[in-house]
Structures are given as C-alpha cells and as structure tokens.
C-alpha cells in the first residue's frame, strides 16, 4: 500500500464518505446505548419506573436519578472530550426513553394488558438537557458534576410532577386513604410482584415535616454528583483505543 495513494477520488467524495460514517456511527452508538443503558437502568431502578404505584415521593425520587446519571456521565466524557459534542446526556436519555416507551406500549400493554397510564416511564429529559447545557457553557466536567449533577437530582421530581400529580390525588377506598396510583396497583394484580415486595414511602422522613419529596430530591442530588464523578472516569476508561498483544 502506497502512502501517496488516496482512498477517495475527490474532496467531495471524502466529505460524503465522512457524513455516511457519521450516520452509521450515530445509529450504532444509539442502539448499543439503548441496550446497555436500559438493561442497567431497569435492573437498578426499574421497579420504580415500571409501575405508577411505585412512583412515590421518597424512593422513586431518590433512586431513579442516582442510578440513571451513570451512562450520561460516561457518554459526556467521550462525546465532549473527543468531539466537542454537547449532547451526550440527552442522547442517552432519549435512547433510554425510546426503549422504554416501545416496551411499555408493545409489551406491558400489548402483551400483559396493563394500561399505559399505569406503566409509563419516568421523564429524565429536563435533567439531561441541564447536564448538557452546563457542560456546553462551562466546558468543565467539575462544574458539570457539581452543578449539573445537583440539577439532575433536584429537577427530577418537578420534571415528573405534571405527569404523576393526577395519580397522587388522595382517595378513600373501603375506609382506607391512599393515592389513585395505589388503587391502580390494588386492582392490577401482579402475581410475581406481591405487595410485600413494593418499596415505597414508609414515613420516617416525615420527621422533617411534610417535605418528603424535597428532602429525597436533595439527597438524590448529592449522590448524583458523586456518581457523576465516578462514571466520568468510567467513560474515559471505556473511550480508550488501546490494543493489547495476544499471548
């Protein structure tokens, strides 16, 4: 192979080839991220995300942001450091949401017949946009971890409030008071997930008064910052192009 030989016939062809690779890379990256991020998320926070009666003011708000900031931090580390692309977090979250919505519609509803307003996924888009915007404006991963990570945790509940609020209306049913979401779970029996498995608000956080969700969001924001740092370094490690010699 001669170093003077060119792989393309003209600059125009080089540009076209480059664009075509871009599309192939975006497709592949997006699909692999959906697969990897979704399997991570469903097995670390999925139960709170599957069912509306798990979407409480305490553990849903605490767990989901903490476990979901992982892949966005890793992909931002690669996309911004190498290519100055400021949409790593949004790309991840849109992939996750696409995978979830397809599943909730075609399988949760289409195969096991749960209504979509019982199995809709959590909205992570506001936090992802904030993470990307902080990184783009500051160009600093430290600021993104601290400010973006905190915003990621804090904005989760407000970002989901318009969706979940109608299901958190208190109702009285057979002399007991609970939420509409609890009633959904009561009626749609899940044999493999009995009630004693459901991990929702038990009430000890009410020692702070009634502010369950803000306290949970604040704690979640704190841990999200730490997880962002950790997964930033994971992202750097996964971005390497090293070859090892076979033994």
């Amino acid at each position: 192979m001669s170093a003077s030989q060119s792989a393309v016939r003209s600059r125009a062809e080089a540009v076209k080839v480059s664009r075509t690779f871009d599309y192939l890379i975006i497709w592949t990256l997006f699909m692999v991220l959906i697969g990897g991020y979704h399997i991570h998320f469903m097995l670390t926070g999925g139960d709170w995300d599957f069912w509306s009666d798990w979407k409480d003011r305490r553990l849903w708000v605490t767990v989901v942001p903490i476990v979901s900031i992982t892949f966005p931090a890793a992909v931002q580390a690669m996309a911004w450091s190498r290519y100055r692309l400021p949409f790593g977090a949004t790309l991840c979250v849109l992939g996750l949401l696409l995978g979830e919505w397809i599943n909730r519609y075609l399988n949760f509803w289409g195969w096991t017949y749960f209504p979509v307003n019982f199995v809709f996924p959590s909205n992570l888009v506001p936090g992802a946009i904030l993470l990307d915007v902080v990184l783009m404006l500051s160009g600093s991963f430290t600021l993104t971890a601290v400010l973006g990570g905190m915003a990621w945790g804090l904005v989760f509940y407000p970002g989901n409030w318009p969706i979940i609020a109608p299901l958190h209306i208190p109702i009285e049913y057979n002399g007991m008071m609970f939420t509409l979401a609890d009633l959904q779970g009561y009626h749609y029996v899940r044999t493999g997930t009995p009630e004693y498995i459901r991990m929702v608000e038990k009430g000890t956080l009410r020692t702070f008064g009634k502010d369950v969700a803000p306290v949970s969001a604040f704690f979640s924001a704190f841990v999200s910052i730490l997880i962002y740092f950790l997964w930033h370094f994971f992202g750097n490690w996964f971005s390497q192009t090293r070859f090892v010699q076979s033994t």
Partner: protein
C-alpha cells in the same frame, strides 16, 4: 478526455464503498424475524406458555427452545468459520480504497450488532419484566426466557463476534493486536448469557418473586456496562478512518 472516460467507467464498474443493500437487508432481517417472534409470543405465550407441566408447553415452547439452540450453534459455527476461513492473509497490502470499503462493510456488521443488542438488552429484557412480574414463574424456561436468554442474547453474541472477527481478519488497523474496548464491547455482553446461570440458580433456590432491582440481577447490570466499550470502538474507528480521509478533507 479519454483517460477521464476510462476512469469514470472504472468507477462505475467497481463495487460501491458502502453496500446499502446489505445494510438494509441485514437490519431488515433482524426486524422481520423479531416481529415474527413477538407475534409468536403474543399468541402462544398465553395459550400454551402458562403451565410448564402442560403438554402444549412442551409442543410450543420446549420444542422452540431445542430448535433455536441447534440453529444458533449451527449459525455461529458456519458464520464465524466462514469469516475466519476466508480471511485476508495479505491484509497489510490492500489499497486505501479497499481498506475504506472494508471499513464500510465492518460498519454494516457493527450497525447490525447495535440493532441486535437493542433487541436483546432493551426490548426482550424489559419484556421479561412484565411477564415475570405478572405471571407465576414455574420453570426456568418460561416463554419470555426462551426468547430473551436463549434467542435474543445468542443472536447479538453471534453478530458481535462476527463483527470482531471481520475487523481482525480484514482491516489493517486491527493488526496491531487485540482492540481492548472491542473485546469489552463483545465479550462483556456475551457474559450476560453465562450470568443466566446465576439468575436461574438464585430464582430456583432462593427468590421466586420478580423484583427487578434485586441484587441477584446485578451480574446483568455489571456486564451491561461493558456495552460502553462501544465508545472505544467508535474512537478506534474514527482514528482509522481519519487516517484514510484526513488529507482529502483538509
């Protein structure tokens, strides 16, 4: 003028850099197959998949399992064998244009791997959630497992290894050794399949319910992280393709 005409004729005669027909056929094959699989689940999951002691379970689900395992072993053996057998023994002598063409073919493999990984890691894995959380589990070989663990996972493994083998046997850039992140991106998701052993062991002897966030499932999570090895694969490819195109792009 005559030379230009000859050059144009030669361009028209040569194979395209990206064979879009192969790309769409590959992606379409997975799509059509999995739409059929989903139809099968919809029909026979409820009618024959609820009781593993029923004769119809043996007919519609256990036979499906036996057939798919045989077909997967055959497909993997033939596909990987052909890619290895037809390897380029003078890979460092190819022209830059041929190298570029092979990178495109490699990306067809990678696009199919990403597509297969989506179906396995996202679609059929979360589908398993809704089946198990709502239907009693009375065997390790439930309808959702027969599709998820023993069909969709082997399919992405077969595709990923084929992609890795293609790069290793036909692309000069991959002759420096073994790409660490490529191995992570292929072997990590592969390890999800052996991890099924832990999952079934745990569910059989310890935990019959289906709490998705149970620590029993963390093996899947750990190996799912390795999908991020695709970041390194993208970077490696960008370096290789950049070398081929850089002087024509500046």
């Amino acid at each position: 003028m005559a030379a230009t005409t000859e050059s144009v004729k030669a361009d028209a005669a040569e194979a395209p850099l990206l064979n879009t027909r192969n790309l769409y056929a590959g992606l379409g094959l997975y799509l059509v197959f999995y739409v059929w699989v989903r139809w099968y689940e919809g029909v026979y999951g409820w009618s024959a998949g609820l009781d593993s002691f029923a004769p119809e379970f043996e007919i519609y689900w256990m036979n499906f399992l036996y057939i798919e395992i045989v077909l997967e072993i055959l497909t993997a053996s033939v596909l990987w064998g052909v890619i290895w057998k037809t390897r380029d023994r003078n890979v460092m002598s190819i022209t830059p244009r041929e190298e570029l063409r092979r990178h495109f073919t490699h990306w067809i493999w990678l696009a199919c791997y990403g597509w297969a990984l989506y179906w396995g890691g996202s679609y059929f894995t979360e589908q398993d959630g809704t089946w198990h959380q709502t239907i009693v589990r009375d065997t390790d070989f439930t309808p959702s497992h027969i599709i998820e663990f023993y069909l969709s996972y082997p399919i992405y493994i077969i595709t990923g290894v084929a992609s890795f083998l293609y790069a290793k046997t036909r692309l000069p850039h991959y002759q420096q050794g073994l790409s660490l992140m490529y191995m992570v991106a292929v072997i990590g998701p592969f390890m999800i399949l052996p991890n099924v052993g832990l999952n079934e062991w745990g569910h059989t002897f310890w935990f019959m319910e289906e709490l998705f966030v149970a620590p029993l499932h963390y093996g899947f999570v750990f190996f799912g992280w390795s999908a991020l090895g695709v970041l390194g694969v993208v970077n490696t490819e960008c370096e290789a393709i950049g070398k081929l195109l850089k002087k024509d792009l500046v």
